[in-house]
Each structure stands twice: as structure tokens, then as C-alpha cells.
């Protein structure tokens, strides 16, 4: 069985990091693009431990290649041939996205725009206005952060906003300082910034 970790361009060497089944990593040449894989003798449990192991492999790949496109934790392929077949129709898109993330990493920012005040209001109109205000404030923070990034993505779940920024590898520290400055000018925002990550949020097809 073949477990797939990521696609890579300009892969110079494989890291020593062991895979989800404790296996050594291997590569499968798909024609200019490498699939980074691990051979398993039996399926691994889809649990937290495997997810963390998968993630560690992907992060270990970042310094080893020009570009890394993380693959989501999924079911293993029956064989290398099965992997090639599954990858074939998407190869063009994968090449394109590898180019787009080349030399870049992802910085994640989570923020809450409301402090501890609940959103609930006494009347519907006030509720919508407060909702609008918070969304606008979050989008302003996002726009300010995005200015210093190659690309950005914003999503919100409930009361939280989550953003991912594509940043050139040598500029991560400078970007973190930029996050500091933006946080200061938006006084009430609670915010946590993590990275660098492999560019997970920029790996999928987007309209």
C-alpha cells in the first residue's frame, strides 16, 4: 500500500523523517513532479498519531525541495500504479500550483474580533449591524495582512476568523513583525499567528 504525503518540485533529497507506519520515505517520479510516498504493509489507523506523523513528514519536506504541495491525509493507494492513475488527470493543475507556491511557506493567523462580548442583541437590526461591523473589521485586518503576502485566504467559523498567507520563505520573520503592527492598530483583536507551514491552504484547485 502506498501512502501519499505530498507532491514536490525540485526535490533534492528525502528527509530522514519516518512515515505514518514508521517507514522510510520514497519518491515516485511523475514526470517533472515527484510524489513523496511511503510503502505500508498494512493500513494505519486514521487517528491523531497518524495525522501528526503525516504532518511532520510534510513539514520535513519543505527545506528539501523548491516547492511542496501537501496532500491531505487519506486512504492509501493499492499500488504505485494506482497512485499514478489517480494523479494523472490532476497533474497539470498540480504542476501549476507547485509553481505558484515555489519558494513560499504558509503563515496562519487566527483572530477573534469581538473580545468577549457575545454577538446577541435585543433586536434583529442591531444584531445584523454588529455582525456587519465585525465582518468588516475582520476583513480590514485581513486586507492589512495580505498587503505583505504573496496571497491570502480568509474564512470564518462561528465567531472566529482564520486566515492563511503565502509568504516567501526568507520573509517569515518580517511578516510576523507585520502581524504585530497590524494587531497593534486593531486594538481589540485577539490573535495568534503560527508558522511556517507547508502551503496546505494554497494546495487545492480554486475558482
Amino acid at each position: 500500500m502506498i501512502h501519499l504525503y505530498a507532491f514536490a518540485h525540485g526535490l533534492r533529497s528525502l528527509p530522514a523523517e519516518r512515515g505514518v507506519g514508521g517507514e522510510l520515505l520514497d519518491r515516485e517520479d511523475l514526470g517533472g513532479v515527484d510524489a513523496v510516498v511511503g510503502e505500508l504493509h498494512e493500513a494505519v489507523a486514521a487517528d491523531a498519531e497518524s495525522a501528526v506523523a503525516h504532518g511532520r513528514v510534510v513539514e520535513a519536506l519543505v527545506p528539501c525541495a523548491d516547492a511542496v504541495l501537501p496532500v491531505r491525509f487519506g486512504r492509501p493507494f493499492a499500488s504505485r500504479e494506482a497512485l499514478r492513475e489517480a494523479a494523472a488527470p490532476q497533474l497539470a493543475g498540480i504542476r501549476e500550483r507547485l509553481l505558484r507556491v515555489r519558494g513560499c511557506v504558509e503563515v496562519a493567523v487566527r483572530f477573534a474580533e469581538d473580545g468577549r462580548e457575545p454577538l446577541r442583541r435585543d433586536d434583529g437590526a442591531s444584531y445584523l449591524r454588529e455582525l456587519a461591523r465585525r465582518n468588516a473589521a475582520a476583513e480590514a485586518i485581513h486586507a492589512a495582512l495580505e498587503e505583505r503576502a504573496v496571497a491570502g485566504r480568509l474564512e470564518h467559523t462561528g465567531r472566529l476568523f482564520r486566515a492563511a498567507y503565502l509568504v516567501r520563505r526568507p520573509e517569515v520573520e518580517a511578516f510576523a513583525r507585520h502581524v504585530d503592527r497590524v494587531a497593534e492598530t486593531h486594538g481589540d483583536a485577539a490573535l495568534v499567528c503560527t508558522g511556517p507551514w507547508a502551503p496546505y491552504s494554497f494546495a487545492e484547485e480554486r475558482a
Binding site: R72, R110, A112, R116, R120, G124, A125, L128, G158, A190
Partner: protein, 108 residues
């Protein structure tokens, strides 16, 4: 391993959903039901956000009457309350309703 680059402000607001790990995960027989609830509530949450977004856009444009704004606002508030109740019932946090829905997720 720490990848925290920087943090600011009152992190309690952020830490509540972040505390989705590890304390509430369990491996008992009810978790399949909980898994399905997670999927269903994620979809409902997606729809709710889509509708709220639509309403805000129209409110911005001025194409909603005061009465409509009031009624929509009340409905969304009630919907949010109901979602909170359901989440609490299934012991799910905002973080848990973050499933990747592929092309549906792109609607937002």
C-alpha cells in the same frame, strides 16, 4: 514543537474553540452519531453563514426594508442560538464544524 510566531490580546476568546483538542475526544459507541452530527451541523453552519452574508450584502446595498432587516436579524439570532444548543448537545465546538467541504466550502 512550537510554531507560534506571535500572539496578542485576550486569547481566551481564541482558546475556547482551540480547546476542542484534546479533552473531549472519546472512543465510545455514541461517537458515530456524533460524527454524523458533526457533518450535518457543518452543513447547516455553512448555509447559515451563506445566508447571513447574503443578508448583509443586501443590507449594505439598501435593498432591504427596515422591517425585513429586523425580521432577518431576529431569525439569524434564533438560528445562532439553536446552533449553540445543538453544538452543546453533541459536545461540538466551532472548531469541530470546520470540516473541509471541498467545492461547497468555496461558496463562502
Amino acid at each position: 514543537m512550537s510554531r507560534v510566531l506571535t500572539s496578542h490580546g485576550d486569547l481566551d476568546a481564541l482558546s475556547e474553540p482551540m480547546r476542542a483538542f484534546p479533552s473531549r475526544v472519546s472512543a465510545d459507541p455514541e461517537t458515530v452519531e456524533r460524527g454524523l452530527a458533526q457533518l450535518v451541523l457543518t452543513l447547516i453552519e455553512l448555509l447559515r453563514q451563506l445566508m447571513e452574508r447574503q443578508a448583509l450584502r443586501r443590507m449594505d446595498e439598501g435593498s432591504l426594508s427596515d422591517d425585513e432587516v429586523e425580521r432577518l436579524g431576529l431569525t439569524f439570532m434564533k438560528l445562532a442560538d439553536r446552533m449553540d444548543e445543538l453544538k452543546e448537545h453533541f459536545e461540538l465546538r466551532d472548531e469541530d464544524l470546520n470540516l473541509n467541504l471541498g467545492p461547497l466550502g468555496d461558496l463562502l
